[in-house]
Symmetry: C2
Subunit: 363 residues, 2 copies
């Protein structure tokens, strides 16, 4: 069996910050990017952590479709609102600064909302300051509308978070599709058929073979189904509706790019920046009620849900953010597991950027 | 075949306003309640219109669990936020006044949010004033959490609306469960089996017989599945997550009642007010971008979605609010169809309240 290697949070955060700096990201911004990326690894969300470092960030900067230097331009601003142009800079820097603006506005006026254009990634900043947050982003087209078959909408996550009196915040961070490409790639690797309903082909029929689905995504003959599935029977129009809301809130408040135009390809076939849009809403709990009271009620609701009767064969009911917290506790002891693919991408990036760093698997 | 009777929007609105006034609702409030109820009939949402007038509103006022006179008390207020106590008054009056407050705050500061306690119903006011609205309400417990079987959460709609350059606004107004009781009652009437996934029994198995489900709701042995279905395979944890968000935003910002305590039954078995909570968020589009530009982009997104490739056998792709607008156009010509059950409930209410009104089926 393949040996499992683990790297600590601190070392990987340090490596990524060094490497980002080496490719031209200003030092402070490099630290922000590394801190946001490592947050995913800490919470067990491997699809968004160090595994993305090389293929998404380093490669895109090398291809010239992402600027390592982020110009954060405030295009329009009122007491509670702002429109920001990220000029195709580092999405994590734009995300953190936007959420910071929304939080500061909410602290002063009770609510804040910042809408961003021309960014290439997004992140949720955990609302550690007694704020409820509602955020969203559009993404390259992949979901088909209800009764449609064409990949029109991004996986468009609608993310909502709030604190409670528990050790971890409630964070519901999920795509408005049932599944997404990363999960289907995983099914392909382990040669497992997908449940009916995740993917639709150009006739409107469900696809269960992951290889067929992945090929279909590339040639446009397959699309993801919205949350609720294909057709209306299981509520697919609801997921489709939420995906549409996120597309509109991300694009229409900042005259941004949308739907098919987010595919990152120029008419001549060359790559271009994704020009994604995001929105960040912060709501100050203390404007309504002392935060301690809110947290107690929220905690009671979450605990009562978990304590309710389980289905046969199920031992546990979770609330959003709990599994990620459990992963964090586990990984705080073990470090981050590094598979062969991630190890190769990180050593490649290290060598390419000539960063002075030695990984544990090289000892 | 049974003859179909139709009543015009104007006549039914007038009748309900008269009848509400006759049972003690102040005249201005009676007009608001009638106007909100008729809005559902106009849009073809028969589950929420005149069909509810007698069994929900008149009967509850008679039972003493709803006050015809609404005290709208502002408990706490900041520039953008407010907490309102509705003192078990008329939900439509509370809803309209709360949304009005949120809109007025948004006009001045860019955003507004009002949270309500002790109300018994909610309504979305269509954002006709260039506002994006996000609203929600908790409800009597009926959804089971993922891996659970107990009815813990309400159908907890998360409703989002915005204007476009089209003849009707985008309004996504849907329960965070796949289905709901009214739809299942309809399946029982037409003796049709439900799709697997709508309802879960106390073992965690899907229930497809609507009679079994309805009996199970009453004795606690069945619950609704969240959007995404039973278990995690089709994303049920996402619908469960959104239902939880709505429960917390509706209750925890106003120290309100939640989950099982919303069942409307005292420990001694007698009925009591539902003590629901709601939240109303208004976001002023003009704070970000001239509303005309937003509406054009939003309209373009909606039109491109509808114009995308259809699944085999499907002739049309809809966007949220479109089917309701089509129903409105149709009913503007025909009036509201009145079935035997609705006709009886309205004549009963009329006779009981001694309102001077003659229905078309009595001519």
């Amino acid at each position: 069996m393949e040996k499992t290697y683990y790297e600590s949070f601190e070392r990987m955060e340090q490596f990524m910050a060094q490497a980002f700096a080496a490719i031209g990201v200003p030092e402070e911004d490099a630290k922000i990017c590394a801190a946001v990326l490592i947050e995913s690894d800490k919470r067990g969300i491997d699809s968004h952590g160090v595994g993305r470092f090389k293929p998404i960030y380093i490669d895109r900067i090398n291809e010239g479709i992402q600027n390592p230097v982020t110009q954060f331009e405030v295009v329009r601003e009122t007491k509670t609102t702002a429109v920001v142009d990220g000029h195709d800079g580092m999405g994590h820097v734009i995300g953190v600064k936007s959420m910071r603006m929304a939080i500061d506005k909410a602290k002063e006026y009770g609510m804040g909302m910042v809408v961003v254009r021309n960014s290439t990634h997004y992140s949720l900043m955990a609302a550690k300051e007694d704020m409820i947050s509602i955020t969203g982003t559009n993404a390259r087209p992949s979901i088909a509308p209800t009764f449609g078959v064409e990949n029109m909408l991004g996986t468009n996550p609608l993310t909502i978070g709030f604190p409670s009196d528990e050790a971890f915040p409630f964070v519901l961070d999920c795509a408005t599709s049932i599944s997404q490409r990363g999960k289907i790639e995983h099914y392909a690797r382990i040669q497992k058929q997908m449940p009916e309903g995740w993917v639709i082909n150009h006739n409107g029929a469900p696809v269960t073979d992951p290889e067929t689905a992945l090929k279909g995504f590339n040639n446009g003959s397959c699309a993801l189904a919205p949350l609720g599935g294909i057709g209306e029977e299981l509520g697919g129009y609801k997921g489709y509706g939420y995906a549409t809301v996120v597309e509109v809130l991300s694009a229409a408040l900042q005259a941004g790019t949308f739907l098919k135009a987010l595919n990152g390809i120029n008419p001549d076939g060359s790559k271009r920046p994704y020009h994604l849009g995001h929105f960040f809403i912060a709501i100050d709990i203390n404007a309504f009620i002392p935060a301690g009271e809110f947290k107690k009620t929220a905690g009671d609701i979450l605990r009562q849900l978990r304590a309710s009767a389980k289905a046969q064969g199920e031992e546990r009911i979770y609330t959003a953010g709990e599994k990620e917290y459990l992963a964090f506790l586990e990984r705080s002891k073990t470090g981050i597991p590094m598979n062969a693919q991630v190890r190769k991408s990180l050593t490649d990036a290290r060598d390419q950027l000539k960063v002075d760093f030695r990984f544990v698997w090289e000892d």
